[in-house]
Amino acid sequence: MWIYEKKLQYPVNVSGKNVQLAKWIITQYGGPDGELAASLRYLNQRYAMPTERAKAVLNDIGTEELAHLEIVGTLVYKLTKDASVAELKAAGLGGHYADHDRALFYVDAVGNPWTAAYIQAKGDPIADLTENMAAEQKARATYNWLINLSDDPQVTDVLRFLREREVVHFQRFGETLNYMQEYLNEKKYY
């Protein structure tokens, strides 16, 4: 089971309302390379992993991604909470307002809803771990582009933290892949 901790993994402050920036950042909430996709991908792949190490890595990184989902949700919430309808409309969020008002939803930067088609579980540990390494790189690149788009230094600070975590997860998945290859090669001889 999971236990909720009533705090963020990393503090989130914003300089003020910024609807345009929120519209871009929400892709890391419900977009193809976002935190929801990451978390659900890893937690779901745990069951088919043949080694204890790989199960632990997927479990724990999948759990950290849930904390990142909350950080991204907090950014979007804080950047949009006082926005007027005119401001939402001007930032291209008129459609979002029509469907959701100011509620958060799992969408990408242009409003496409989240889909399980973003993720995969192949049942082959090499294929799955390699997918996860690619996913971490795609998320890192997305944070890079968001940092380029950001005009709020306090938001940029949070995006930098999240980008760094993708690099660390990529490293841990790479180590897990190496260990998995050794494990699978050894198995052939017995």
């Binding site: 503090p11 950290e64 841990r172």
Partner: protein, 86 residues
């Protein structure tokens, strides 16, 4: 980053220490025999428990489902602001 009250300052300290334990946790998943990391993990675990206990006594529960303590005569879990509101 500046923090403006003692509650936030203690929370910031918890976030820092817990980040270290999380990093060590992920590292130990792929380096399970690293004695120095094991030692650091246990040391930071003790510090984190101490800080959380201190926080919960003063400002209300951080954890629910029996993992955090309730103090006073009312249920404080739902009284404290949520992380996205702080």
């Amino acid at each position: 980053m500046a923090v403006n009250n003692p509650c936030q300052a203690l929370l910031r300290k918890i976030q820092q220490v817990e980040f270290v334990t999380l990093e060590l946790n992920l590292y130990l998943n792929t380096h399970p025999e690293d004695q120095k990391a094991l030692e650091q993990y246990n040391c930071m675990h003790r510090e984190l428990c101490e800080l959380k206990k201190q926080y919960e006594q003063q400002y209300g529960p951080l954890l629910n489902y029996g993992w955090g303590m309730n103090t006073g005569n009312s249920w404080r879990w739902a009284e404290q602001p949520w992380p996205w509101e702080m």
